[in-house]
Symmetry: C2
Subunit: 171 residues, 2 copies
Amino acid sequence: MSESLSMYQASVPVLQRALRNLREILRKGQTHAQSQGYDPAVLLQSRLYPDMLPLLRQVQIATDTAKFAPARLAGVESMRFDDTETGFDELYARLDRTIEYLGSFSAEQIDGSETREVLLPTRSRGDLRFDGRGYLFGFVLPNLYFHVSTAYAILRSNGVPLGKSDYLGGN
Amino acid sequence: MSESLSMYQASVPVLQRALRNLREILRKGQTHAQSQGYDPAVLLQSRLYPDMLPLLRQVQIATDTAKFAPARLAGVESMRFDDTETGFDELYARLDRTIEYLGSFSAEQIDGSETREVLLPTRSRGDLRFDGRGYLFGFVLPNLYFHVSTAYAILRSNGVPLGKSDYLGGN
């Protein structure tokens, strides 16, 4: 039996990496738009379907999902965003701020949260009750990857040249 | 400090749940097509963009990603699929078989694989070398959610009524 897995290892660096990849995917979208001679902001309002959310909201929700995770696992109040971003530079700043915020948590704050109670307020279904493990694996990770994958799909469906390695990213 | 997190908990039940949700998402697509009076198989060849993979392949890759995970973590040969599916019923059977296969692994086989070496053969980049934790969190989970999210997006972009709760699913 080697060293074990910790809630910190399964959350903070995993979330940071997904957000760094999202940042790079966005950057490739912006660069592609510029090379094609159209306003990159057009991409931020692009959707896969009329009643799905546009790219800008996908990025906002991805960062929200990520920032809430360590805060809820640690049992502290999360930082807040005003959701006022309209352009790429503001979204990069939001991603950077979230990645930095995640890095402000210590392993000691997150480890041991497997069975800690997490209350998740929702608009439509009241408070959802999880333990830390169920919250991380049943909500945070699938949600985060959903929004990063959807951002990727929106850009791909607009002709931005991206591959799976942009999504999986480095370390 | 409560009970700790294990590699088994972070893999087998998590992967099974994502596949069960994918199965239900597919079923809603099939039902929708039937209610609209077109051949559901049309959906299986639908793509988000010409050089992205169609729904049928998204399901095949999701199940491949999931089935390899416990096998590689446990250091055993994985079962194989012949990739001959053409319709919904065959995809359900493939999903069911994968879910059952995942369930055949014991916690004892998977736990302790955090630092076990995993070699991942790739067509374009030779063998990728991971430890078990890096393989699970840097490859398996993001990949699986990518393909489930893309399957969801393909169905949504064809007008299938799905919501986030279909993607996140139950337990």
